[in-house]
């Protein structure tokens, strides 16, 4: 049974990474056809770095992702703390509200926001509503649930008396909040922020409906590229991003492993637990 699971896992990993291999090979191809390999060349990477437009798009995507995840993390954590103090019907209502963007398909959220902005446009009698701000609003909106759903479990696991103990020991309410509560839920905040950043960086469907032409993100422009003869420097961009993210993840894994090893070896904690 275990061997079956293991072979399945290996097969699935191969399946998941085949396109990466195909695109990686295509990025070194001098011809434009992915299926036929003409000759090995680095020229696509050269084209990529000379293409200001593509790099601008990448920068746009990163800016939106960073801003949206920051804002949604800050306000989402505040909201999670607030929801945690709520009871009964109010809490259920707010949690349902939080679940709506998760259970709604992306296309419906995108369409709804696009209609909202169009409606606002006709109210304010302007034509140029869609742009940086509408994109940011949309991203923050769908990032919120990711943050809240990552922070809430940590709040629920936290010992409720810790905050009171801090107050008893002389902290101001603000200090108690920052030093105790935030510290306890920090893993949830970090994973929520990371998820929000990842979702924003690669979001296509929602951005496609709410983006104007003044501020375009990379996924939307890639979609436009797929409607025309493909330019191979896109494959170079993809392979580079893949390499960078892979390196980051391996690094994170390594650091996390080291952090855990240190925690295990710290003597003070072990003694305290033994007591």
């Amino acid at each position: 049974m275990r061997r079956f699971n293991k072979t399945m896992t290996v097969l699935v990993f191969i399946f998941l990474y085949i396109p990466m291999l195909v695109l990686g090979v295509a990025s070194f191809n001098s011809g434009t056809d992915v299926a036929t390999f003409k000759s090995f060349t680095f020229s696509q990477y050269g084209n990529l770095f000379r293409d200001d437009a593509l790099l601008t798009l990448l920068r746009n995507s990163v800016i939106i992702a960073v801003l949206a995840s920051l804002i949604s993390t800050v306000f989402g954590t505040m909201a999670a703390v607030g929801i945690h103090s709520m009871k009964g019907r109010m809490r259920r209502a707010v949690m349902t509200l939080t679940d709506i963007p998760m259970t709604n398909p992306d296309i419906v959220t995108g369409v709804a926001l696009a209609l909202l902005f169009a409606f606002t446009g006709t109210l304010l009698r302007t034509q140029s509503v869609l742009g940086f701000w509408t994109l940011l609003i949309a991203h923050i909106t769908f990032d919120f649930p990711y943050v809240i759903l990552n922070v809430m479990p940590k709040l629920q696991q936290m010992d409720p008396d810790l905050e009171e103990a801090a107050l008893d020991l002389g902290c101001t309410p603000y200090q108690a909040f920052m030093k105790v509560v935030i510290h306890e839920i920090m893993p949830g905040i970090l994973s929520g922020a990371l998820m929000a950043f990842t979702m924003s960086l690669d979001d296509f469907v929602i951005s496609y409906f709410v983006t104007g032409s003044s501020f375009i993100t990379l996924p939307v422009e890639i979609y436009n590229y797929t409607k025309k003869p493909i330019q191979p420097k896109i494959y170079a961009l993809f392979t580079l991003m893949f390499a960078v993210i892979l390196a980051l993840m391996v690094l994170m894994n390594f650091l996390q492993g080291r952090g855990e090893k240190e925690a295990r070896l710290r003597p003070g904690r072990r003694e305290a637990r033994a007591r």
């Binding site: 960073v66 902005f117 140029s128 104007g212 409607k227 493909i230």
Partner: protein
């Protein structure tokens, strides 16, 4: 303390990164919205029109593309973006004019307008020449791969309904161009508004659907060049571009008739930099620019002067500049009424969404619904049985002393 400094630095860095994104370039900036693959971008040693324009005037160009008149119209209608120059086709220009979405051009800023041939002025879509300046003109025809498709088959639009080429045919992904093919085959005008005629066209297009490889616009380049598809209707200029990559490709003007079009430069309402837009239009009308640009594109120029800057091979091409006898079979689009446009859109949607083997899906769904109801009933009965068994067990146990 450290964290707070870090947070402040991060915030400062982010604001610094965002601000330049919205700063305007020094000589001004214009946003041009054009068809895809419709301007020379400097590949293969040809001129980069946009770069040349910026060099000459100092105005930076923000360049975006669309793939059909309908996409352009939708983009302008849904708002949210301002463009300075757009390049619609003839019928779309009259539609935009009627809906008051175009600015009148200041021809004082476009002195090169004098090079446009008289034959292209005073067209039905802009009789007073107030809103547009012709950019290219062209025709629609059938592109086919001579290795797989015979020339005799390709002489008629019915080639696209030929089952021998099933799965290897493409057609336009916009309603007017596709309906035009059906209208030619059925002998109707390309601008008919008659409901029964439109419906006959959509029925004809529906019969074609199962034989098609797909509905495409600019994806056609890759597909025809690699011989993934063998026959497709498209614009003559793009055929000339594709033929350079794949010499097996040939072009025919089908005998039933075809569409001839003029694409012209216009300035939409809401533009940010009208003077810059007019400078751009003026630049494109320069004979050397028009000549070199259109030689690269393969489309036909509306300026005789520009032909001096094009090679003889192009100016004598019967595909780029067909003779009068061929042109007699052509017809241009005019704008349809709002109701007719809506009806055509609805019929087109029906064509694209009508499907086969729906019966199998219906059967599956009915079976699933039946299965769901069955499971509800069975689990309900099963639960009742288990509960009653448990109750009986407790009753009997209660009567015996516990051991």
């Amino acid at each position: 303390m450290k964290k707070r400094i870090l947070a402040l630095l991060l915030a400062a860095f982010l604001t610094a990164a965002v601000l330049p994104a919205r700063a305007q370039a020094a000589g001004g900036e214009i946003t041009v919205y054009n068809w895809g693959q419709y301007i020379d971008d400097g590949t293969d040693g040809t001129i980069d029109v946009l770069a040349e324009f910026t060099k000459e005037t100092g105005i930076k160009v923000n360049y975006l593309t669309y793939d059909s008149n309908e996409s352009l119209y939708t983009k302008l209608k849904t708002g949210g973006t301002t463009f300075d120059v757009i390049i619609p086709s003839d019928y779309m220009i009259s539609k935009l004019k009627e809906e008051d979405m175009l600015e009148k051009l200041d021809f004082g800023n476009i002195p090169n307008y004098k090079y446009i041939d008289e034959a292209f002025k005073n067209q039905t879509y802009d009789p007073q020449n107030e809103y547009s300046v012709p950019y290219t003109w062209g025709t629609v025809g059938l592109i086919y791969n001579t290795k797989y498709v015979s020339a005799s088959d390709a002489a008629s639009w019915s080639c696209l309904w030929n089952a021998n080429y099933a799965g290897k045919m493409l057609i336009f992904d916009n309603c007017r161009d596709s309906f035009a093919i059906a209208e030619s085959m059925l002998g109707y005008s390309l601008n008919t508004e008659d409901s029964s005629e439109l419906r006959a066209c959509s029925d004809l297009l529906s019969t074609q659907k199962s034989l098609l490889q797909g509905y495409v616009m600019d994806q056609i380049f890759d597909k025809m060049e690699r011989a993934e598809a063998w026959v497709a209707p498209y614009y003559a200029g793009d055929y000339l571009t594709m033929a350079e990559e794949n010499p097996d490709l040939a072009f025919s003007f089908p005998k039933e008739g075809f569409n001839i079009f003029i694409d012209a430069l216009c300035i939409p309402k809401g533009c940010q930099n009208k003077a810059g837009a007019e400078a751009f239009i003026n630049f494109l009308c320069k004979p050397e620019i028009s000549g070199q640009n259109l030689e690269y594109l393969g489309y036909s120029t509306p300026e005789t002067e520009a032909k001096q800057y094009m090679s003889a091979e192009v100016t004598s091409s019967p595909i780029a500049y067909p003779d009068q006898e061929t042109l007699a079979r052509s017809e241009s689009f005019s704008n349809l009424s709002v109701e007719a446009t809506q009806e055509m859109n609805d019929l087109w949607l029906q064509v694209k969404t009508s499907g086969s083997n729906t019966t199998s899906y219906l059967i599956l769904t009915l079976a699933a619904v039946a299965a769901v109801i069955l499971i509800f009933v069975i689990t309900g009965l099963d639960k009742k049985r288990r509960l009653s068994r448990r109750c009986r067990k407790w009753k009997t146990e209660g009567q015996q002393p516990a051991k």
